[in-house]
């Protein structure tokens, strides 16, 4: 990436749950922050700036909650920035944090992203009600279902692919102590037997609503040298946005996603993503988004993504593992979900992913998308300093 080198030197996550009634919002973000600081061998006093991300404030009913959380995150007397780019925000927050260091302005930056969805109702909070526009009371699943139908129609993918992804990611989640959904012995047949929520999305093909926070400590070269653990070097970062609707837009295979991937691959020297990326943590909130993003990210040709999923290539023991952590399908504190992808990618190349570690992972992709499949944030991390 451009600017000074940036490394992930600490990662902290909370356990993701439907309700975290045991902690306040401040307690939740602090739990993740303290774990990341401990991993980096640092204290709040060592941090130069704090970057906070979350999805819409309507989820908790707190306006600009960075102000209230400044104390809990040790930000008093320091710079603080609050990022909000819809569902991609966790990824964007990581990228903005990296920019703080790449700019030359800071050496150690604490990045935290969170959501406490139990404070509200996500489907209500995600239902747009702008004056002078039609309100669709559909939530995120209702919004994305037509895109998925269009993908199935366009690619001729058999109906079993979605349940395969849902079962695969939940099996991976059993190896991840932080994952929210833990369903022993889950199978595609079990997924197919659950009720239809938004055709063609069945209940177990959808992500859960979670409470949780993820924190990452980023450092420059000096901070990385001093860190107790192995760093993950940021080899590239990219964000792309496109309008939500116009006649030339392809919502199934958005150009913003393709352009974002091309940008981040060029920075990281990735010529063939399936060959050059050892493991990917990709934002798949509904099962069918795995084959859709396999194509959008260039891991498969248009119309062929589902074949890669069907072949088992994206399984944890496949040649291009996707979401070994269990992914968004197994835990979705919305504002944090993108940063969790970025952090899990970093853990893989640090060799710190525990039971879902991919052996010998040296290059990993973290991916997030948001709003009407129109905002994208990606980073590539590697075990070697660029």
């Amino acid at each position: 990436m451009s600017g000074r080198p940036v490394a992930v030197i600490g990662v902290g996550q909370t356990r993701y749950r439907t309700r975290r009634d045991d902690v306040s919002i401040a307690g939740l973000v602090r739990e993740a922050a303290l774990r990341a600081l401990e991993d980096a061998g640092l204290d709040f006093a060592d941090i130069d700036a704090v970057v906070l991300g979350k999805a819409p404030d309507l989820f908790e009913g707190v306006v600009m909650p960075d102000l209230y959380l400044a104390d809990a995150l040790g930000a008093r007397g320091k710079p603080l920035l609050r990022v909000h780019t819809a569902g991609s925000v966790g990824g964007s927050t990581g990228i903005v944090g990296a920019s703080h260091i790449a700019s030359g302005a800071f050496e150690r930056v604490l990045v935290v992203a969170w959501e406490k969805q139990s404070e509200s109702n996500a489907t209500w909070a995600l239902t747009l009600a702008h004056p002078m526009s039609t309100s669709l009371v559909v939530g995120a699943g209702g919004y994305f279902a037509p895109f998925i139908r269009a993908y199935i129609e366009r690619s001729g993918a058999p109906g079993r692919i979605g349940p395969m992804v849902a079962a695969k990611d939940r099996r991976n989640a059993l190896r991840n102590p932080y994952a929210h959904l833990r369903i022993p012995d889950i199978t595609p047949e079990m997924v197919e037997a659950t009720p239809m929520l938004w055709e063609p999305i069945r209940y177990l093909e959808a992500c859960p609503s979670s409470d949780g926070a993820c924190a990452v400590v980023l450092g420059g070269r000096t901070a990385a040298r001093a860190a107790p653990g192995a760093p993950a070097w940021v080899l590239g970062t990219a964000m792309r946005s496109e309008p939500i609707a116009f006649a030339g837009r392809d919502a199934v295979d958005p150009r913003a996603g393709r352009d974002c991937a091309a940008d981040v691959y060029a920075q990281a020297g990735i010529a063939d993503p399936r060959r050059d990326i050892d493991v990917a943590e990709v934002y798949v909130p509904f099962s069918w988004y795995e084959p859709m993003w396999l194509e959008n990210l260039g891991f498969a040709s248009p119309g062929e993504g589902w074949r890669l999923t069907e072949s088992g290539a994206t399984a944890i023991d496949g040649d291009t593992p996707w979401n070994p952590s269990g992914g968004v399908l197994s835990a979705n504190p919305i504002g944090a979900s993108g940063l969790i992808r970025f952090a899990e990618a970093a853990q893989q190349v640090r060799g710190a992913a525990g039971d879902h570690q991919i052996d010998g992972a040296r290059t990993a992709l973290g991916h997030a998308y948001g709003a009407g499949s129109q905002f994208f944030a990606m980073w590539i991390v590697g075990s070697e300093c660029p």
Partner: protein
């Protein structure tokens, strides 16, 4: 003098003076004619107006922009993702490199400035917008407070500001006559500012009308407006080229710092603004004389408070635009401060200026920009 528990001012190292220091400039600025009543224009229309204007002034195309970042607040419209609709106005096709902060757009400018310092792009577009007339801003800002201990008390932003004004009066740092003088001068300046909501407005009864929250009268309190602002940043030779084409000069950013204070007003000395002091010191405000400053004072008493916190002497002209008392296009108000100072430097009316932005109860979070010709 510092409040208990406040880390020493050296906790954050000063900005490294590397070779790119000072290499980013404000090269164009545009703002709407801010409106204290709803004109019916949606957010995208407000944004389209200022983005189109700033690009036209700079003489560049949308496709030339390296990075775009905006600031807005969903709660003004009472619905999520207001920035998504506004993106339509930017012309994000082909897709653009873009980000958003749920903060005053002065912090979007901060993000853009960091991004430009990577050295691989040479322009960044920053915009902020809000339609504050659609709701009740003091009530919305109540929801900004600690949701467990403070917000349930129902105290609103005006009442908190009144506590701060009272603290300043009790400490004999200001008198009610001082506040009246700030109001009088701000409204006089605003009447000369065509973008101000108060243009043509005569505050006959402002100083004698009933208190809203003692000691604040209606004239002491900014009226929330609908509005938007856009700033174009550029680096090095690109900045010089764009400014030259407009017959102006770049307003170079020589310092840009932001600091947040503790959230609870009870945890702070409200007669001071510690976060603004720290930001001003770090940004180097005192390194050379300042001719002009624009400060984000939404209440009259905050202007003398900020003048002191930023270290501005009596010779500095503060809020010649009329300031937020003249027009408060919420979420763009801080960015307008930067634009107003940059505009004067670009035109040669000042050599060195300071722009200040704030958000949060009783000036919790502060940003300071030092601009030079």
């Amino acid at each position: 003098m510092s409040t208990p528990g406040t880390p020493p001012p050296t906790a954050v190292p000063p900005f490294p003076r590397d070779r790119r220091e000072g290499d980013v400039a404000v090269v164009a600025f545009s703002q709407t004619r801010h409106m204290a009543a709803d004109s019916g224009a949606p957010e995208a229309r407000l944004v389209h107006t200022v983005v189109s204007d700033v690009l036209q002034r700079a003489g560049i195309d949308r496709g030339d922009i390296g990075f775009t970042v905006s600031g807005s607040l969903d709660y003004l419209a009472g619905t999520p993702f207001t920035f998504v609709g506004a993106l339509d106005a930017v012309g994000a096709w082909p897709p653009i490199s873009e980000s958003h902060v749920e903060m005053d757009a002065a912090w979007a400018l901060y993000e853009a400035w960091l991004r430009l310092r990577h050295g691989d792009i040479d322009t960044a577009l920053v915009y902020g917008f809000g339609k504050a007339t659609q709701g009740d801003l003091p009530d919305i800002l109540t929801l900004q407070l600690d949701p467990y201990y403070l917000a349930p008390l129902g105290i609103d932003d005006i009442s908190l500001a009144a506590l701060q004004a009272r603290a300043l009066l009790d400490a004999e740092r200001v008198t009610e006559a001082d506040l009246a003088a700030v109001v009088d001068r701000s409204y006089a300046a605003a009447r000369a500012n065509p973008y101000s909501a108060q243009a043509g407005f005569t505050p006959d009864t402002l100083l004698t009308s009933e208190y809203v929250a003692h000691p604040l009268r209606p004239g002491d309190i900014a009226r929330p407006c609908d509005g938007a602002a856009a700033v174009l940043l550029a680096t090095g030779d690109t900045a010089r080229r764009i400014a030259e084409a407009q017959g102006t000069r770049p307003a170079w950013i020589r310092g840009l710092e932001q600091r947040v204070d503790a959230h609870g007003p009870g945890a702070r000395d409200l007669t001071r603004c510690d976060a603004a002091e720290r930001a001003a010191v770090a940004a180097g405000v005192g390194a050379a004389p300042v001719q002009v400053a624009e400060v984000h004072a939404r209440y009259s008493h905050q202007e003398p408070l900020l003048r002191g916190a930023l270290g501005l002497d009596d010779g500095v002209e503060v809020n010649p635009s009329g300031g937020p008392l003249g027009a408060d296009p919420v979420m763009a108000t801080g960015l307008v401060r930067v634009g107003e100072v940059a505009r004067r430097i670009a035109a040669g009316a000042a050599e060195r200026g300071v722009a200040h932005a704030a958000q949060g109860p009783c000036l919790q979070h502060n940003l300071v920009t030092v601009l030079e010709g």
